[in-house]
Structures are given as structure tokens and as C-alpha cells.
């Protein structure tokens, strides 16, 4: 994109063309940072649902004064011809099309879906809710996609878009991993229906194992922030910071480099967290290519806010130990989440790791435990606790 930007910028500044972008990302605000980094300031439109139904990106499209597509992925010569072309005369019909309204009436679409009870009507309502309904109507949006999908279970687009809505709901609530898991399941269902949709595939790979990654998705973020700061600007904040899987680089082969670290509680002597004070959830993302026998596991540990539990950040950091599992090689057995600077907090902790499958018989479970320092209520008792967990593995 920066190459095209350099190519078109003189013409844009001369007023000969307008430049626009349509972003195909789950987290479109990351594009704002990307644009700031590359000092590109043309308008960006958001198409997380992929209404344009592109199977892959990028595309550059030349559109004339009447909205007609004149070239897709043009050559330099085609671009120059386009810039120099003379437009046809303006007529009254142009004005009619140009006067079309911008966003739909959600209540009328809802009524229409309720009356018709068709996949198309529910999908139209769901798409519109996602685009124009705001964060507070995401649950309605998911319900509408469910209604649409129940009428057309083989429509991969509905599964994909339902996954987008689930992941957005997960990012909004930050309360549990169920919606993240449902997002992955929805995208996997979509890809099973049409394996040629690379936008769908990328959405899974964004969170998936390194063996399945075409590239690091967001390795540019830290570099961008450094360069923007060095210019004396303040980098745009991100609504959701990229996680480990989104930074991770691809692996060319199965790696099994288990660090030889001492198990922190081999005798199981640390008191168990019975209540529990911490809720542990997992989301498993398998490779989109079944020949790549790897899983990426996203662990999420959330303090039980109903009992006002909070992390004690002045003690040892959260530690997770993974036990060996027959047929699976963890990338690491020992994980730690560094304490944030504040003394206490209630924010969820996310840890990620990968396991690779060996030949032969495989266990369907991965066991491990978490050790953490947690306090009950403000100025309440602080405890060091252990919680054992079992993750049910999906065979890739």
C-alpha cells in the first residue's frame, strides 16, 4: 500500500483523484496506526464483515466519476490513462443515484426479518446491526446471524460474519472466553464450507499456531509506535492490543524445544483455589491446514469480581505449568505473566502457548495448573493459590 500511496499522492494533491481505503480487518482501528505510521491520510472505510466478499487482499480499484469500475489491480500505464481520461457528460440519473441514503432503518429491517423469517432478511438485519447498531446491540446482531444461519446452515458468509460479531463481543465484554471460542468455531465452520476464502482463513490464522501462519500479522505495531514517537507524534491508541499469536512469526516445522525448568509445585503442596477466586478459560485454535499438527491455546484467567478478588501485583507473578500429555509436545511448559505496574488490578490475564502433535496415539487432554497471588476485597486477605485445569484438545 505505501508503494501505491507514493505513486498516487502527487495526483491526489493536484486534485485529480480521490484516494480511499476499505479495510478488511477484525480490528479496523489498527489501520489508523498503520496509516499514521506511513503518513497516509486518505479516508478509510471499515468492512470487517467483508460485505465486498473479497476472498483475499489487497486490491486496488479504479472507479470513474460515475461509479463505474474501470480497472482492478491496474498497471502503471492503466493508472495514468485513467487519470488523464475525460469523463462523459453528467445527467439527471446521476443525481438520483448520488442522492441515495447512507444507512438503513434498523427497526424496519428487524420488522422485516421477523415477518419474513428468511435467511436473507435476518442476514440483512444482522449486517446492519453490526455496522450501525453500535456495541450495545452486538448480542442482537449475533442472535440475528443465528436466525439467518438456522435458515441457511450452508452459507459460509453467515458463519464468517457471526464469528466477526462474536469476536467483537468478546473484545467488548472482556468477561469470558466463550465468545472468542464461538468466533473461532464460526470461522472454522465457514472455512469448511469454502476453503478458498483467504480472508476467512486469515481470521483463524491470526490467532492460530505458528506452523499455520503465513506471516506475523502485527509485528509492525511496535516498530510503528517507535517511529511515530521518534517523529514527535503520539501513536494512535489501539482499542484491543494484539496478543501473542498476532505478533508470532511462522514456524517452518514442528518445534519441541521444552525448556528444562523446575516445576514450581511438584508435590502439589500449594493450597487449592476452591471457590475459585480465578476463573480459567481456554480457547483452542487449530491450524487451517490439517497436515500441520499444531494447536495454539489461549488461556484467560479472570478474577472473580463478584467476590471482589483482585491480583496482588506486589507478589510473584502469575505462573502456569503444563504437564506432559501423551503424543503432544508443548512448546513451553512454564509460562508467566509479568505483573503490571499498579499494586492491584482485576483485569484478565491472557497467556498463549502452542503444542505440536507427535506420531502415534495422542491424549485428548492437556493438564496443567496455575499459581497466583490473589487478594479478597480491598485490604482483604491475600492468598497464594493453585488451580489445576484440564484442556480438552481438538485433534488438528
Amino acid at each position: 500500500m505505501p508503494v501505491w500511496h507514493a505513486r498516487t499522492e502527487p495526483f491526489r494533491l493536484d486534485g485529480k483523484i480521490k484516494v480511499l481505503g476499505i479495510i478488511q480487518e477484525q480490528h479496523p482501528d489498527r489501520c489508523r496506526l498503520f496509516m499514521q505510521w506511513h503518513q497516509m491520510d486518505w479516508p478509510i472505510l471499515v468492512d470487517s464483515l467483508n460485505l465486498l466478499r473479497v476472498a483475499a487482499v489487497p486490491y486496488t480499484v479504479l472507479i470513474d466519476e460515475k461509479g463505474i469500475v474501470r480497472s482492478i489491480n491496474p498497471s502503471q500505464e492503466e493508472f495514468e490513462t485513467f487519470v488523464d481520461s475525460v469523463s462523459s457528460p453528467h445527467d439527471e440519473c446521476d443525481d438520483a443515484i448520488n442522492a441515495l441514503p447512507g444507512s438503513p432503518d434498523l427497526e424496519k429491517l428487524k420488522l422485516r426479518a421477523s415477518m419474513r423469517q428468511t435467511a436473507e432478511a435476518w442476514a440483512a438485519y444482522a449486517d446492519s446491526l453490526f455496522l450501525w447498531g453500535g456495541d450495545l446491540r452486538l448480542d442482537e446482531c449475533i442472535h440475528a446471524y443465528q436466525m439467518a444461519s438456522s435458515n441457511a446452515p450452508d452459507d459460509g458468509w453467515l458463519h464468517f460474519r457471526m464469528g466477526v460479531a462474536h469476536r467483537s463481543f468478546f473484545d467488548l465484554k472482556q468477561s469470558n472466553s466463550k465468545d472468542f471460542t464461538k468466533a473461532i468455531e464460526s470461522w472454522q465452520a465457514a472455512l469448511e464450507l469454502d476453503p478458498n476464502q483467504y480472508i476467512w482463513r486469515r481470521r483463524i490464522q491470526q490467532y492460530g499456531p505458528r506452523l499455520d501462519k503465513p506471516y506475523s500479522f502485527y509485528d509492525w505495531v511496535n516498530q510503528a509506535r517507535k517511529e511515530i514517537t521518534a517523529r514527535g507524534e503520539k501513536p494512535f491508541p489501539l482499542r484491543v492490543e494484539p496478543g501473542g499469536a498476532e505478533f508470532a512469526y511462522p514456524a517452518e516445522k514442528n518445534t519441541d524445544s521444552i525448556k528444562k525448568l523446575s516445576e514450581p509445585d511438584p508435590g502439589g503442596r500449594v493450597f487449592r483455589d476452591i471457590l475459585p477466586a480465578i476463573q480459567i478459560e481456554s480457547t483452542i485454535v487449530s491450524a487451517t491446514d490439517a497436515s500441520k499438527k499444531a494447536l495454539r491455546i489461549h488461556l484467560r484467567l479472570q478474577p472473580n469480581v463478584a467476590h471482589a478478588f483482585h491480583w496482588n501485583n506486589e507478589a510473584e507473578p502469575l505462573t502456569v505449568w503444563l504437564k506432559s500429555s501423551k503424543g503432544w509436545g508443548p512448546e513451553r511448559v512454564f509460562l508467566q505473566f509479568p505483573n503490571p505496574p499498579m499494586v492491584t488490578d482485576q483485569s484478565p490475564r491472557s497467556l498463549e502457548f502452542e503444542i505440536v502433535q507427535h506420531m502415534g496415539e495422542n491424549s485428548h487432554e492437556l493438564k496443567g495448573y496455575a499459581l497466583y497471588n490473589i487478594c479478597e476485597e480491598i485490604n482483604g486477605t491475600c492468598l497464594y493459590r493453585r488451580q489445576d485445569f484440564t484442556i480438552q484438545l481438538t485433534q488438528p
Binding site: M1, W4, R12, I17, K18, L20, G21, I22, I23, Q24, E25, C31, P43, L45, V46, D47, L51, L52, R53, V54, A55, V57, P58, Y59, T60, V61, L62, I63, E65, K66, G67, I68, V69, S71, I72, F79, S85, A96, I97, N98, A99, L100, P101, G102, S103, P104, D105, K108, A123, A124, D127, S128, L131, W132, W157, N196, Q197, Q206, Y215, F217
Partner: protein, 66 residues
């Protein structure tokens, strides 16, 4: 890099928009009108359509930052 299917946005003037899903080969094709969708602008969330740029030559990039 193949595209499949097509979503058409039909505007019934003066009121409601309805999204109708039909099976077509491409979302946008050479020498055809670009789909009249409205998308939220990243800057402020307001609806913007390519057809808001009527009368202008547009270079449109469909992309992702990854």
C-alpha cells in the same frame, strides 16, 4: 486470488435499504457500477459510500494492515 459471490444493496427511495444476497461471480467487476454499500468511516463511524464521491475519479484500496 479469486472472488466469489456478490452482495447487492438495493435502495428503495425514499426510505429503507434492503440487503439482498444473490449469487454472482464477483463483488465488483470491471465496467460495472461499484456496489452501493455504505461503510462506517474509520474516523467517525459515519456512513460513507463510494458513490458519495460521484463526479470524482477514485483510487480505492481494499486492504488489511497485516
Amino acid at each position: 486470488m479469486k472472488k466469489t459471490h456478490h452482495t447487492i444493496l438495493i435502495h428503495s427511495i425514499p426510505c429503507v435499504l434492503f440487503l439482498l444476497f444473490t449469487v454472482m461471480s464477483h463483488a465488483f467487476e470491471k465496467n460495472s457500477s461499484f456496489p452501493q454499500y455504505s461503510f462506517p468511516a474509520l474516523e467517525n463511524g459515519k456512513p460513507v459510500s463510494i458513490h458519495d464521491y460521484w463526479g470524482e475519479k477514485v483510487v480505492l484500496h481494499v486492504f488489511a494492515s497485516w
